[in-house]
């Protein structure tokens, strides 16, 4: 266990080192901090003096060491736009993103496992075919488009006049397919409740929950079909295996065969892929938050790009790197706990 943690820690340090090097290279090459500080009118001689004073003329390695030392102490510099420490800006936007990711992860887990398992057990049933059809369509719709369609249907509302209005069934069908469009689709709404004096949550009030539904469904819409297909494919493979056949030959109930013997083996590759997909999820928060103006890190990052707010961009990259490293370690840990053939000593048995 300790060996495993040490190995993971070394890996994490290596990854963070690469990221910080990249981040610093970006900072070093992008924009002129002096110009940001003093503006255009200051003469070149003064600029040179300032450069010297801030150590901007030092060799790359010296500058990088200084940057890394500061970053380790939580000092990522000041955001040009917000005029406050970049880390504080991130910390303020972090809860919104985490809640969004949490809500859609909940949706994904809640639906992908039962649907994936069902369509593996009964691959030819109409319900399975329906879900497989839906899932390939789901994969083919980009997140932001799902979000826009959801906004049109549930927030703006649809007025269907396709069926002839004069007849009774026509009016009924028109009103059946028309939607009211009263779901909120802009920001976190007024429903947030403050927790611990710092964390604003959407989960503590009805209004807050209503606000998070559409963004969370949009974010889940791309991962959910992926996971359904993955779970189905893995489960179908596992159901062909000898140990499942043997479990049946032992006379144990089908429920136990499916949910103990097969599902546990199915989840091993799913956990691994899930770990990789967390990274993708962070990328998709940028898209989802943009559509819904959700005030999280993704929206903040995009704004920072448009404002060329270099320190904020770099801090975001570093923080996202940290999040990846932590989640990957957690995923490996869970994998090791589920799979007895992996000893947490680091080498597979």
């Amino acid at each position: 266990m300790i060996a495993f943690l040490v190995k993971r820690l070394m890996h994490a340090v290596l990854v963070m080192f690469v990221i910080s090097l990249l981040a610093f290279a970006i900072q070093d090459n992008l924009g002129d901090p002096i110009q940001q500080m003093v503006g255009q009118s200051v003469p070149e001689s003064e600029r040179e003096e300032l450069r010297e004073r801030f150590g901007l003329n030092d060799p790359f390695l010296v500058q990088y060491t200084r940057f890394a030392k500061n970053a380790l102490q939580g000092d990522f510099g000041y955001s040009y736009f917000y005029r406050e420490p970049a880390l504080d800006v991130i910390a303020r936007h972090l809860p919104a993103t985490l809640e969004l990711v949490f809500a859609s992860t909940f949706i994904i887990v809640l639906f992908s496992v039962p649907i994936g398992v069902y369509s593996a057990i009964k691959p030819r049933s109409p319900i399975s075919r329906f879900f497989m059809g839906i899932s390939i369509i789901g994969i083919s719709i980009p997140v932001f488009l799902t979000a826009i369609v959801l906004i049109q249907i549930f927030s703006i509302g649809l007025t269907i006049t396709f069926f002839p209005e004069g007849t009774a069934w026509g009016s009924w069908l028109n009103s059946f397919f028309s939607t009211q469009g009263n779901m909120p689709s802009f920001g976190r709404g007024g429903g947030t409740v403050e927790m611990f004096g710092y964390w604003e949550t959407n989960f503590a009030s009805w209004n807050g929950l209503r606000n998070i539904v559409l963004p969370a469904v949009s974010l889940a819409s791309i991962m959910l079909p992926l996971f359904i297909r993955l779970i189905r494919a893995e489960m179908m493979e596992v159901l062909q295996s000898d140990y499942v056949k043997y479990a049946r030959a032992k006379g144990i109930s089908m429920r136990r065969v499916y949910f103990v013997h097969a599902l546990k083996n199915t989840m091993l590759p799913v956990i691994t892929v899930g770990g990789v997909q967390i990274g993708t999820m962070v990328a998709y928060t940028i898209l989802t938050e943009t559509v819904f103006q959700w005030p999280g890190m993704g929206l903040m990052f995009l704004d920072a790009i448009n404002r060329a707010d270099i320190p904020l961009i770099i801090t975001y990259l570093m923080i996202v790197g940290v999040i990846f490293v932590i989640t990957n370690t957690l995923v490996d840990l869970i994998y090791g706990l589920v799979n007895p053939t992996v000893k947490l000593t680091g080498k597979p048995a």
């Binding site: 000898d242 140990y243 030959a249 032992k250 007895p340």
Partner: protein
């Protein structure tokens, strides 16, 4: 009435190219405590026969006809719930490859206890005690530690011992063993086989042993079936068949054994290979490989090509071969005339 009675078993696979008949006209019985061997090349339908006994053939396979009767109850028409009470309880199975048979993510104890609990109302403590007892019977070193271990921590031979222990857990009437030693190291094959034989004798358990190893069959079983291309071609007491095989295929199998060859000479092999089930030769499925047909005047008997041979009694054995039938008929006629 026999303990297990299989009559006219017919198993088919519904494939996209059409139905393939994997097994037809299979008949045999098994008495309590009797040991029966099923022999044949791979693809002859031995494993299908084993799995169909417990109605465990994987889709697209299905039992198209015939009956499997166990203690007077017909297994092939029984509900899934009823079958579950037989599986692992009255009839248990041993699979070919112990590396693939045990679930890698469940502990040995879990996989043993679940089998007991599926068939008996029993506390976990009692279940563990029974499991431990069975592990002792299969002579696993330090059985106490095994329950908490996972399959990957055990060697192949040990895993097969665990599987034998699971097969014996509920004191079944019959054990179906599908090539139980093929996947093991040669050095421990004999050891595992001897253990299985000893335990079956000790507990008076019937054994259906599926194998391609004639040596093992002759040592372990009392009666045997020889299968070719989905049909039984010869069946009877093991000793008689081994000592005096009637069917040309069985003769070929026995002649192909290394100990039958003269040292320094080539092994006697049956020429050709087993036909695919979806494309069987007409008449007797063995005729293109049969040595007897081409021997007399270089031409096969018309009957061999046109007609599927029926069974003829020869001593205590039943053989499906036109040539054997003709020979017997000749002999009978001679006896009558003299």
């Amino acid at each position: 009435m026999a303990l297990l009675e299989v009559t006219n078993l017919d198993v088919r696979f519904g494939l996209r190219q059409g139905e393939v008949r994997a097994l037809r006209d299979v008949n045999f019985t098994l008495e309590r405590g009797e040991r029966l061997g099923i022999v044949g090349e791979s693809g002859a339908g031995k494993s299908v026969a084993a799995f169909s006994l417990l109605n465990l053939i994987a889709k697209p396979g299905f039992i198209a006809g015939g009956s499997i009767s166990f203690e007077g109850k017909t297994l092939n028409t029984m509900s899934e719930r009823g079958l579950r009470k037989v599986r692992g309880n009255r009839i248990s199975m041993i699979f070919q490859d112990p590396m693939m048979t045990l679930n890698p993510v469940l502990s040995i104890g879990e996989q043993m206890v679940e089998c007991l609990k599926a068939h008996r109302r029993i506390s976990s403590k009692e279940a563990s005690a029974i499991c431990l007892d069975k592990l002792r019977q299969v002579q696993i070193p330090s059985p106490e530690t095994r329950l908490d271990q996972y399959p990957h921590e055990l060697s192949g031979g040990m895993r097969q011992r665990v599987i034998i222990a699971i097969a014996l857990l509920l004191d079944p009437d019959i054990i179906i063993a599908d090539e139980p030693t093929t996947a093991l190291d040669v050095t421990i094959q004999a050891e595992i086989m001897a253990l299985l034989l000893e335990l079956c004798e000790q507990h008076n358990v019937g054994l259906i042993l599926i194998t391609h190893d004639l040596g093992v069959v002759s040592q372990v079983t009392q009666r045997m079936l020889v299968m070719y291309a989905g049909r039984v071609i010869e069946q009877g007491p093991t000793r008689e068949i081994i000592n005096d095989p009637q069917h040309p295929y069985t003769q070929g199998l026995i002649n192909a054994l290394p100990q039958m060859a003269t040292p320094g000479e080539r092994l006697n092999q049956i020429r050709g290979s087993m036909p695919s089930l979806s494309n069987l030769p007409s008449g007797c499925a063995f005729h293109p490989r049969c040595n007897f047909i081409n021997r007399a005047d270089g031409k096969p008997r018309p009957a061999c090509i046109e007609q599927v041979p029926g069974f003829v009694e020869s001593g205590n054995c039943r053989v499906a071969c036109h040539m054997v039938a003709e020979m017997l008929e000749d002999r009978r006629l001679k006896e009558e005339t003299s």
